[in-house]
């Protein structure tokens, strides 16, 4: 699902700083550290066009593991970072899937989170702008063609996660700008 990147991801400077991989005890330093991790995770997922993150799997990737340094973020600390991103302080840049938030034991299996390097509201504005620019108001479009057709190949939302797409369209439905309809496996949307 991840697109092959043309240019390699550019890691931030503090990625090479060993204490970055240990949550700091001082509150001010910790807040700064969490913000830096949030920015890093968002940029990494945007670069690799990943919309969801499995913490268990991600721990083994270079997102959380600097092999040259021999340092990696612990699972407990990674969860704290995501919790920070879910809150207002972190700008709602993440959301736990299926209410896994702050769950206790047995946490390894279901630790999945949306990473909102672009929030559903922001995706909604992007999609609506494209529909308007291409003169497709009052036209029926399938959800498939929005993300998979050649017509949207040049758009950011091409190849977008189907579930995230529906989240974004629900934002438009609430604003009264669109209506989603059709059967479960062949949904369509009409923009007004």
């Amino acid at each position: 699902m991840a697109a092959i990147a043309t240019t390699p991801y550019k890691f931030p400077p503090h990625y090479s700083f060993p204490p970055f991989f240990t949550l700091q005890p001082v509150a001010a330093t910790r807040a700064s550290q969490l913000a830096s991790w949030s920015a890093h995770i968002q940029a990494y997922c945007r670069h690799h066009r990943r919309f969801q993150l499995s913490l268990i799997d991600a721990l083994d990737t270079d997102l959380f593991w600097n092999r040259k340094l021999g340092k990696r973020l612990a699972l407990r600390d990674a969860r704290d970072v995501v919790n920070y991103m879910c809150g207002a302080e972190g700008g709602h840049r993440a959301e736990w899937v299926d209410g896994d938030k702050k769950k206790g034991g047995g946490d390894g299996e279901a630790a999945q989170a949306w990473i909102y390097w672009r929030r559903p509201e922001e995706w909604a504005s992007l999609i609506e702008g494209w529909v308007d620019a291409t003169g497709q108001k009052n036209t029926v479009l399938t959800l498939y063609e929005l993300t998979e057709s050649d017509a949207t190949a040049s758009q950011e939302f091409h190849g977008m996660d189907a579930e995230l797409l529906q989240k974004s369209l629900q934002v438009l439905v609430k604003r009264g700008r669109a209506q989603v309809f059709g059967s479960e496996d062949s949904l369509g949307v009409k923009f007004f």
């Binding site: 399938t142 063609e145 209506q179 369509g188 009409k190």
Partner: protein, 415 residues
């Protein structure tokens, strides 16, 4: 079917289009799968050739060929489906256009109905034309009335011109020396009339066009003095008192005629008015010599005084005059002189302190307001008694002009 319910904005046509587009998407996905399979078969063929297995390679290429034929069929189906979808969408647009035209026509018909149709419009235009014609008649009538007003102005101008012409005849009357005093009075009066040049109905004003820098005194009571009834006791020259009263404002600095006392320094002058006036001030010109009068006692509305009673009675007001060659304006207490019909002026002494037996006055006049309502009956009665012919002429003029011109008539009677 989570979002199918309660979707009023979605029509049956929208759902049909969605179905067709979903079919299109499935065909697209199927085509992608065929391409993948075709590529895969090509790879298999290459590997078999490497191993020298021509039979298997040939088999793979045959499968590829078959898949490609499927792809072509799918292309045809896809094109047909997309054409159908476009046609349906365009038909929807046409339906909207037709609906718009229908709405527009309906609104237009409604408007026509409200206007009342063609017959109503024609009727309205007819009424409008009639109303405009009526307005033109009204305007022409008003224009006619305006022209009447212009005629009135022309007549006024003619009257003024006639007075000017009468003025130019005066020199012919001057040489009659035997009746010098009466001629003088006539001359003064007519000269004033000539200079006036305006409607005689306006008796509250006196105008002259001399070169004098001082503006005309608009409240000068000249027309209202009954000159013929003026009586001055102890005047040296008969009618000298009336003569100085009949001097016009333009003649106020003339040394002659002059009023001078005879036996002693005292003078008593009775001045009646042709109607009721409201006195504001007394204008008097004397001199800087001992002949200038010093004390002036004024009695209101009494015609029975002589030197004895004037000395004994309390005057309405007493004035101390000055020794000056200029015109003195002596203001009176207006509250005492609101209903003046006549004045008696008692010049009791002069600045000679008993040494100078002659008192001299060169100009005398009054300022105030004339109440016109009381003028006409007095003139009417006077003229009726004095001269029936004048009465008829005045009556005719009054009816025609709507203004009283008794003053000049009265003057004429006196002469």
């Amino acid at each position: 079917m989570g979002n199918s319910g309660s979707t009023p904005k979605i029509s049956a046509q929208d759902k049909a289009i969605l179905d067709m587009k979903n079919q299109r998407d499935k065909l697209h996905q199927y085509q992608k799968k065929i391409i993948v399979i075709t590529n895969r078969e090509t790879e298999i063929a290459k590997e078999c050739l490497k191993r020298g297995d021509k039979r298997r390679a040939l088999l793979a290429l045959r499968r590829k060929k078959y898949q490609e034929s499927l792809l072509q069929k799918t292309d045809s189906q896809l094109a047909q489906l997309e054409t159908l979808t476009s046609d349906v969408e365009f038909a929807l647009v046409q339906k909207d256009v037709l609906f718009g035209l229908q709405q527009g026509t309906s609104v237009l018909k409604e408007i026509h109905k409200e206007m009342g149709g063609l017959e109503n419009v024609e009727k309205l235009m007819g009424e409008n034309e009639e109303a405009q014609a009526y307005q033109r008649e009204i305007s022409e009538m008003l224009a006619g009335r305006m022209s009447n007003q212009d005629e009135d102005e022309v007549e006024d101008e003619l009257d003024a011109l006639e007075k000017e012409m009468n003025g130019t005849k005066l020199p012919e009357n001057l040489p009659d020396a035997p009746t010098k005093l009466e001629r003088m009075s006539h001359h003064c009066h007519d000269e004033h009339a000539g200079h006036g040049g305006h409607d005689h109905g306006d008796h509250g004003h006196v105008h002259d066009h001399s070169d004098d820098i001082t503006p005309a005194l608009q409240s000068l009571l000249y027309e209202q003095v009954d000159f013929s009834s003026v009586n001055t006791l102890n005047e040296e020259t008969p009618r000298a008192g009336a003569a100085i009263l009949q001097k016009t404002w333009a003649q106020r600095l003339d040394p002659e005629p002059e009023l001078a006392s005879d036996a002693d320094e005292q003078l008593l002058m009775f001045v009646p008015f042709t109607g009721q006036v409201r006195l504001h001030a007394i204008l008097v010109r004397t001199s800087t010599t001992d002949s200038a009068p010093k004390t002036l006692k004024v009695f209101l509305n009494r015609d029975d005084l002589d030197f004895g009673t004037a000395s004994d009675l309390q005057p309405t007001q007493t004035f101390e005059l000055s020794q000056t060659n200029d015109i003195q304006e002596v203001p009176v207490k207006r509250a005492l002189f609101n209903t003046t019909r006549s004045l008696t002026l008692f010049f009791e002494d002069n600045f000679g302190q008993g040494e100078e037996d002659v008192t001299r006055i060169s100009y005398l006049a009054f300022k105030g307001e004339f109440m016109k309502l009381n003028k006409e009956p007095v003139n009417f009665l006077y003229e009726a008694a004095a001269n029936p012919a004048d009465h008829k002429v005045k009556g005719t003029s009054a009816l025609g002009m709507g203004s009283g011109i008794g003053g000049p008539g009265g003057g004429g009677g006196g002469i």
